[in-house]
C-alpha cells in the first residue's frame, strides 16, 4: 500500500457547500489536515462549525442535494476517495473507515435484532456465512463489554440502555477492524459516568487494534485525555491546529482561548458566573470573505479583522493558528498573560 509519509488520511483543501434557499452555506471551507496511523485527532468546535460535515465528507455521506463537495482531496492510503465510484466507496465504508454516531438511541434500527445488525456488516464486508457472522457478532459484543453477550445478542435495541447501545455501535464500527474510526460526538447523548466508560473503551480498543481515530466533540474535556492532535473549527474553517498538550498549554487563537475559558472549573468560587464567549456563531451563508468570521465576538479584534481575512500563521513546527494576531496571542499564552479577555469576563454584557 502506498503511503505518504506515514499518513493514513490526508485531507486537502476540502470544501463542502450546501445550496439552500437562503444562499450557499459554506459548511466546510478549505479544511486540510493529516492523520497518521494509530493516532487520534480531535476536532472541536461549537454547533454548526462544520465538524460533522467534514467527517461525513470524508466518506462521502453528504446528502446531495443540497450538499455538494465543491473541491478538495481526501487521500486515504494515498488514494483519493473523492475520485472513487459509489461502489468503491461503499466497500471502504464500514470496512476500512467506520463511524460512530452521536445518538445511540436512534442509530440502531429498532426493528432489527442486535445480532442481525452486527451480522449485516461482516456478511457484507468480510464475506462471513451466517454462523461465522453470528459468532463474530457475539465476540464483538463481548469485546465491548456487553454482559451475557450471547444471551443478549438476539435482543432488540429497545431492550438495551443508552450506554449499551453505544457499545453496540462501537462493536459494529470495529467489527471489520477498520483502519480509521470516526467518532462523531460519541458521548454527547450519554450521562457523565457512561461517557467516561465509553471513552475508556474507545481508547482501549484503539490501543489494541492500532486503529486511527478522529474524535469529534464540542467537549474539550473529552479530547484532552484522548487525542494526540486537536483541530479547532469555527465557521467551516480551521482556527487552530496543534498537538493536544500544546493547545491546552499555549493556545494561539482568541477563539481557542475563549473555548478553554468556558470550561467550568470546580476550583471557581461558588456562585461565580460562568464565562461565555459573547454572541452567537455566525450565519455561514452570509459571511463576508473579507473579514475574520470570529471578529464580532473576539476580545482582540481590531479594524484589520473586519477588513481582511486572517492568515493561517505557523507558530512552531506543529502549531498553526488562523488569526491576525496569532503570534501575539501565542506569546501571551506562553507567558501566562492575557488570560482574561478584557471587558467580557464574568460580565453579562456579552449576552
Amino acid at each position: 500500500m502506498s503511503e505518504q509519509n506515514g499518513n493514513l488520511l490526508s485531507v486537502k483543501n476540502l470544501r463542502t457547500y450546501f445550496e439552500t434557499e437562503d444562499g450557499t452555506v459554506r459548511a466546510v471551507d478549505g479544511i486540510s489536515f493529516d492523520l497518521k496511523r494509530g493516532e487520534t485527532l480531535g476536532i472541536v468546535g461549537e454547533s454548526g462549525s462544520g465538524k460533522s460535515v467534514t467527517n461525513l465528507s470524508i466518506i462521502r455521506l453528504i446528502p446531495s442535494p443540497p450538499g455538494k463537495i465543491v473541491s478538495g482531496e481526501v487521500l486515504f492510503h494515498g488514494e483519493d476517495i473523492m475520485s472513487l465510484t459509489q461502489e468503491e466507496v461503499r466497500r471502504i465504508r464500514g470496512k476500512r473507515i467506520s463511524m460512530i454516531f452521536q445518538d445511540p438511541m436512534t442509530s440502531l434500527n429498532p426493528f432489527m435484532r442486535i445480532s442481525k445488525q452486527l451480522m449485516e456488516i461482516t456478511e457484507l464486508h468480510l464475506g462471513h456465512t451466517r454462523e461465522q457472522a453470528y459468532e463474530h457478532a457475539v465476540k464483538m459484543l463481548e469485546t465491548v463489554g456487553i454482559p451475557e453477550a450471547r444471551a443478549r445478542a438476539n435482543d432488540y435495541p429497545h431492550e438495551f440502555s443508552g450506554g449499551m447501545r453505544q457499545r453496540v455501535m462501537i462493536a459494529m464500527a470495529l467489527s471489520c477492524e477498520p483502519e480509521l474510526l470516526i467518532a462523531d460526538e460519541p458521548t454527547t447523548a450519554l450521562d457523565v459516568t457512561i461517557q467516561a466508560q465509553i471513552l475508556e473503551l474507545i481508547r482501549k480498543l484503539k490501543e489494541e487494534t492500532g486503529t486511527s481515530v478522529i474524535l469529534i466533540t464540542h467537549d474539550l474535556g473529552v479530547v484532552a485525555g484522548m487525542t494526540d492532535d486537536i483541530i479547532v473549527m469555527y465557521a467551516g474553517k480551521i482556527f487552530e491546529q496543534a498537538p493536544t498538550t500544546e493547545l491546552f498549554a499555549a493556545p494561539g487563537n482568541p477563539y481557542t482561548k475563549g473555548l478553554l475559558k468556558s470550561v467550568p472549573d470546580p476550583a471557581d468560587d461558588e456562585g461565580a458566573e460562568l464565562y461565555q464567549i459573547p454572541g452567537l456563531p455566525p450565519d455561514v451563508a452570509h459571511l463576508s470573505p473579507n473579514q475574520c468570521p470570529f471578529a464580532e465576538r473576539c476580545y482582540r479584534a481590531e479594524d484589520i479583522c473586519r477588513r481582511e481575512f486572517p492568515p493561517f500563521v505557523q507558530l512552531n513546527a506543529e502549531h498553526f493558528s488562523l488569526c491576525h494576531f496569532a503570534e501575539e496571542v501565542y506569546a501571551d499564552s506562553r507567558a501566562g498573560r492575557g488570560d482574561a479577555p478584557a471587558g467580557t469576563t464574568q460580565g453579562g454584557d456579552g449576552r
Binding site: 465504508r93 470496512k95 454516531f101 442509530s107 463481548e142 440502555s161 459516568t193 482501549k204
Partner: protein, 370 residues
C-alpha cells in the same frame, strides 16, 4: 419527572449501591467477576434516569421477573387489539368465514354429494327450492340455503363465491402491496427527480377513474375463459389499488430516511436496495398493514360491483357479486338467492373493516396511552 418513575435513584447511597452491584465500572473485555447483573425483581435496569428513554426502560420493583423480558411492539399491539371488542368480533368472523370457504365445499361434497356446479340430471330437480326444503316440500338438510334456478346447491355456491371473493381481495391486495411498497419506497428514499417522476405518474393514474380502467381492461382482454377472467380480475384490481399504498409508504419512508440508523447503515457500506428493504420497509409496516387490511374489503366490493355488472366472475364460477346478480333477477319469487350471498358478503366486509380499524388503533403510536 424522573423522581416519579424511579423513586430510589436520586440518593447518593443508591448510586453507590448500584455501582457496586454492577461490579467494576470498566470491564470492556470478558465478564465482570460477579455474576453479570440482569435486572431481577427489585432491580433497576437503569441506575441513572438520564439514560432512560421510555417506560420500557425503567420498571418498578414489583413488576416481577417476567416483565424484564420486555414486550415487543407486536405483542404490545396485539394486547391492544384483543382489548377492542369489535376488532375481536371481526377477527373471529373473518376467521370462521375463511375456514368455511376453505374446507366447506369439500365437506358438503362428502356429506351430500353436491358441488357448486352440480346440476341434477333429473329435470324435475332443475329449479329453485327454498332453504331446508326437499323437492316434495318436506323438511330436509340437503340444501340449507336452497338451490338456484338450475337446481345447484346455494350453500356450495356461496362458499365457492366466498372463496373467489376473498381470493380476489387478498391476491389483489398482495399485488398492490408489492407494487405500492416498491414504488413508494423507491420514490421516498431516492427523493429528488426520481421521486418527482414516480409520484407524478401516481397522480396521473389517480386522476383517471379506476373503475374505468378496470372495465376497459376486462372488456378488452376478458371473456376468453371463465378462469382467465378471474386472473385478469386479480391483476386489474391489484393494478389500480396500489396508488394509495405507494403514497402511504413514500410518506413513511421520507419520515424515516433521515433517522440516524439509516445514516449508520450507509456509513457501514450497506447498499441502497438493502437499506430500503431491510431497514426502512420493516419500520413502515404498521400503517401498511392497516391500509392493506382496509384494502381487502374495498377490493372485494369492487369485485362484487364488477361481477354484478357481468364483467367479473363468469359462470360456472361464482363470487358473491355474481351470485347477487343472479339472485336479483328473481328477488320477488326466490329471495334467498339474493339474501344469502348478500348477507354473507356484508358480514365479511363489516368484519374486515372492524378488524382494520382495530389494527389501526392498535398500531397507531398516538393511541399508545390506552
Amino acid at each position: 419527572m424522573s423522581e416519579e418513575r424511579t423513586p430510589q435513584v436520586p440518593t447518593e447511597e443508591g448510586r453507590q449501591q448500584t455501582q457496586e452491584a454492577r461490579g467494576p465500572a470498566l470491564t470492556p473485555r470478558g465478564t465482570p467477576q460477579a455474576p453479570p447483573v440482569r435486572a431481577r425483581a427489585g432491580d433497576e435496569i437503569h441506575p441513572f434516569p438520564e439514560t432512560a428513554v421510555g417506560e420500557g426502560d425503567v420498571r418498578n420493583a414489583d413488576a416481577g421477573p417476567e416483565a424484564v423480558r420486555g414486550t415487543s411492539l407486536w405483542s404490545d399491539a396485539w394486547r391492544r387489539l384483543v382489548r377492542n371488542k369489535l376488532a375481536v368480533f371481526g377477527m373471529v368472523v373473518v376467521g370462521l368465514i375463511v375456514v368455511a370457504v376453505v374446507v366447506g365445499p369439500a365437506i358438503i361434497k362428502a356429506a351430500t354429494g353436491y358441488t357448486y356446479d352440480y346440476i341434477p340430471p333429473d329435470s324435475k330437480l332443475v329449479q329453485s327450492f327454498p332453504p331446508f326444503t326437499a323437492p316434495d316440500g318436506t323438511f330436509s338438510w340437503a340444501h340449507p340455503m336452497g338451490t338456484d334456478s338450475a337446481g345447484r346447491d346455494m350453500l356450495a355456491r356461496v362458499l365457492l363465491g366466498g372463496r373467489i371473493s376473498l381470493m380476489v381481495g387478498i391476491i389483489s391486495t398482495v399485488v398492490s402491496l408489492i407494487i405500492g411498497i416498491s414504488w413508494g419506497a423507491t420514490a421516498g428514499y431516492l427523493g429528488g427527480k426520481v421521486d418527482d417522476v414516480l409520484m407524478r405518474i401516481v397522480d396521473v393514474l389517480y386522476a383517471i377513474p379506476y373503475m374505468m380502467i378496470v372495465i376497459v381492461l376486462l372488456a378488452f382482454f376478458g371473456a376468453q375463459s371463465p378462469l382467465k377472467q378471474i386472473f385478469l380480475l386479480f391483476a386489474a384490481l391489484g393494478a389500480v389499488s396500489w396508488l394509495t399504498m405507494a403514497r402511504i409508504v413514500r410518506g413513511q419512508i421520507i419520515s424515516l430516511k433521515n433517522q440516524e440508523f439509516v445514516l449508520a447503515a450507509r456509513a457501514g457500506g450497506v447498499s441502497t436496495a438493502k437499506i430500503i428493504f431491510r431497514h426502512l420497509v420493516p419500520n413502515a409496516l404498521g400503517p401498511v398493514i392497516v391500509y392493506a387490511t382496509l384494502t381487502i374489503p374495498s377490493v372485494m366490493l369492487s369485485e362484487a360491483f364488477l361481477s354484478f355488472l357481468g364483467l367479473g366472475v363468469q359462470a360456472p364460477y361464482a363470487s358473491w357479486g355474481s351470485l347477487a346478480q343472479d339472485g336479483i333477477q328473481n328477488i320477488a319469487i326466490f329471495p334467498w338467492q339474493l339474501i344469502f350471498p348478500g348477507v354473507t358478503m356484508a358480514l365479511t366486509l363489516f368484519s374486515l373493516n372492524f378488524l382494520g380499524d382495530g389494527l389501526r388503533d392498535a398500531l397507531d403510536p398516538q393511541m399508545r396511552k390506552f
